[in-house]
Each structure stands twice: as structure tokens, then as C-alpha cells.
Amino acid sequence: MVNPQAAFGAKVRGAAHIKNGKPCQDALLISTDEEKRYFAVYVADGHGSAQCAYSDDGAQVAVESAHSVFYSIFCENTPAEAGELLNAHKDIWLPKKIESEWKERVKKFHSDKERMLSEPFPFLLYGSTLLVLIVSDGFIFSMQLGDGDIVSISDGKADWILKPERVGVYVHSLCLENSWQYFRSVWTPQPEGTESPEMFLVSTDGYSDCFLSDAGFLQAVTDIHHLFKSSGKEATEEQLAHWLEESSAAGSGDDITLAILPSGNIV
């Protein structure tokens, strides 16, 4: 069993964005239910190119849309039932639901802001990726559209739950027609007696892009894990934003969002 604990994280504006006067185009939403039966992390990365002028809004709408979809599943079902539902519908119904929720909310947001309308609706303006991690005692669920990293640590070794997407400049996005087709997901049952990961990390590509190699990024994950084990949550949380700002300046220049979800197995 995982025995998940409350997640925490930080979101920082990229060094290049500060220099060029661009806003942070990442979004982060961490949630749980009242009974703390599950813990969820939603991270989105707005594309930020000239064609995606409102992608910071698109990223925020992305995390809220995903939260809305998953929250209603957890409100209406026991964790075991919810886990079964996620597993059964992870390939078609869930990504379709998230895509349609995001597109409806983006349209409403656009209208509320009285932004210029055109046909077809310019979803590209709001283009964003989406990363989802949901951890319950009985399962781990990850879902990803576009780039970014979802990593777990077991026995001190870090590895991706979903193999990262590295396709050059382009990235799969919620703004695409039938974007549901490009979602990737993994559902892993964690029955009692299972050796479960000690920690999970979810980050936008701005963090992994800081490092010369993938090994350097995985080393960062294990370093954070060690610090958490030796110094605890408060010390880790206190330094997180500073690390991310310094990393952006030394590396990618991009916005960075990093969320950490520890499990009871870390102690």
C-alpha cells in the first residue's frame, strides 16, 4: 500500500521569461478529498509561443478542468471503485472528458474576458500540456499529455512512471483537435503487501531541461528525496522555490513547476 501524504510544490517564473517580461505560463493544483482517501497533483505548462498568447490562462484552466473531472469521480465512488473506473476508462472516456471540459471552460473564460471571437474557436491561443498524478492507498494513476516528467522513487532509485515525450519543439496539447488521442496513462494497483514507491515528483519540462542529461535530472530527484528523508518536509518546501529559480537561471530559462508527493513508506 502507498499510504500517500499531502503533496506540496512550487511554481516559479523562468529566468528567460523574467528577462523578456513574459508571465509564468505554468499552473499547479494540489488537492485531496475531505477524508484524505486520495491525493492528486495537476500540473500544466502553457506553450508560451506567439501563437499561444493566453497559454498561461489555458494552463490554469487545464489543471482546474482535470481536477473537476477527477474530483467528481472520487466524490461519487469509494477509492476502490474510483480506481477501477480510472483503469477502465483511462484510454478513451477520461481523456475525452478532460478535453471537452477544458475546451468548454476555455470558451467560457474567453467569453467572460470579452476577448475577440473568431470561427473556429482559436484554442491554440490557450494551448497547454497536462500532467496528472493521483495516489490512493490502493493504486497509482498517472496521465500525461505533452511533455513534462512524472517520476517515482523506490529503494532510492528514481525512474519515470510514464516515459517522457521528447519530440523537439512541438508538443502534444489540449488545444489540438481530438487531443484525447495523445493522452498517455498508467494505472498501477497497489494491494496490501506491495512494495510501493517512497515518493513521487511531477514537474514541467522546464526542470528536466535544465540538466545536461536525463541522468542529471534523475539525480535531482534522488537528491530531493534524500533531503526530504534527512531534513523533512518543511525544510524541503522552504528551499524548493529557490532551487527552481536558480535552476532555471543556470539551465533552461523556462518556467518550472515541481510538485512532491511523499508516501508513508519514506519514513
Partner: protein, 227 residues
């Protein structure tokens, strides 16, 4: 506060920019002079782009081709140290050999380093005299060649645009420079593509032009064709 940041060595991402210049006999005279002038003129602008984005290391090199192909600037040179030595023209158009040379270089990039898609700018005025198809295949069979932003500038009206379309994979990125003014404009525009590619986040709609905004390509205007 921790003195050392978590993780391994950090780096800005490398952005490789390669000029691929035709030096065949038909380029002799005003064409090669304009090409030399225009590339030299792009250097200050490219340095500024690099300054504006310190998180991408812009490295420039150049290939020349005529009776064969060789590196004109063999070492990947940081843009702030890059200078242009004038090319001279003479010989045939060994485009395939030039692309083979570029493909071999891209294939030598370590696969686990964080690079941005390379920018390849081909400048030519004629028809290839060697097996250009083999060169294009070699290039597109490398992971970085496939991801590269590939722009072709056709100098004059005798260029085989179909060949250039095969190189770019996108007819919108084949630019027809029918006179010296347009050649200068197109070369300057091609050099600004580094801004798009080096942006921390670029684009979203799954195309093959790596985020290049074709709407920013200078218009041909009403200038008379003189080449």
C-alpha cells in the same frame, strides 16, 4: 539554504545553426557577393537574439559545396566569436555531398544531451549535379536532421524548387530570392528563426516546421526579377 542545487550538471541548451552554401560557378559574381554580405550582416542580429535568451547557446558553423563539399566553418562557434570569411564560386553543385556532411555531423551529437532542434539554412541557385536524394535521405534518417528547422533559399530562377521542397519538407519554407534585395531579406529572416527555436516553449499544433511562423517571411514585393 542549500549551497548546491539538486541534480547533475546544468547547462543552457545548445542551438546549432548551420549555413549550407552553394559555391558553384553559377553563383559567381553578384550572387556570391550578396550571400557573403547578407550573412555577415546577420551576425549582430544573431548576437542580440543570443543575448536575449541566455538559456540557449547559439553555435554556428557553415558548409560550402561546389565540386565537392567541405566545412567552411568546421567548429561549432559561439555566435559572439563567429566571423564570416567570404566564399568564392567555381565548380559544380554537389548538394548531396553537402547534406551527407551535415548528416554525419548531426549523427555525432550525443543522444542524451539537451539540444534544441538545429536550424539548417540551404542557399543555392542551381540544380544538384550529384545524388542529392541520397544526401536528403541521410539527413532525414538522423534524429536531429528530422527534427531540424530546414529552410531553403533559392537564388535566382534556375533553382530546382522540387529538390528544395524535399529538403525542407514544407514548401512554405522554400524562399525564392529573385534579386539581391530579396536574398538579403530572406537570409536575415532565416537568421531570426533562432528566436523561435530557442524560446523555452515554442508551439503546439504538431506541424513539421518546428514552430516557425511563416507569416513573418518577408513578402517578395513587386521588385523586378533580375536573376
Amino acid at each position: 539554504m542549500s549551497k548546491k542545487l539538486p541534480g547533475g550538471e546544468m547547462t543552457s541548451r545548445i542551438l546549432d545553426f548551420i549555413w549550407i552554401a552553394d559555391c558553384s560557378g553559377s553563383m559567381d559574381g553578384e550572387k556570391i557577393q550578396t550571400l557573403n554580405y547578407a550573412i555577415r550582416q546577420t551576425i549582430p542580429d544573431m548576437r542580440k537574439e543570443a543575448d536575449d535568451n541566455p538559456n540557449a547557446s547559439l553555435m554556428v558553423r557553415a558548409v560550402k559545396f561546389s565540386d565537392g563539399a567541405s566545412w567552411h566553418v568546421a567548429t561549432a562557434t559561439p555566435i559572439d566569436q563567429f566571423n564570416w570569411t567570404d566564399l568564392t564560386a567555381g565548380g559544380v553543385t554537389s548538394l548531396g555531398m553537402a547534406l551527407d556532411l551535415v548528416a554525419a555531423e548531426l549523427n555525432s551529437f550525443p543522444t542524451d544531451t539537451k539540444r534544441l532542434p538545429p536550424v539548417l539554412v540551404l542557399l543555392t541557385d542551381g540544380q544538384p549535379t550529384d545524388d542529392y536524394k541520397k544526401g536528403i535521405d541521410s539527413l532525414l534518417n538522423t534524429p536531429w536532421g528530422k527534427k531540424a528547422v530546414r529552410i531553403a533559399i533559392a537564388i535566382g530562377k534556375d533553382t530546382d524548387l522540387d529538390v528544395l521542397g524535399q529538403f525542407t519538407g514544407n514548401s512554405e519554407l522554400v524562399l525564392e530570392a529573385k534579386n539581391p534585395q530579396l536574398l538579403i531579406k530572406f537570409i536575415k529572416w532565416a537568421s531570426t528563426v533562432v528566436k523561435t527555436v530557442s524560446s523555452p516553449r515554442a508551439a503546439a499544433d504538431g506541424g513539421s516546421d518546428a514552430g516557425v511562423d511563416v507569416n513573418t517571411i518577408p513578402a517578395a514585393g513587386d521588385d523586378d526579377d533580375i536573376w
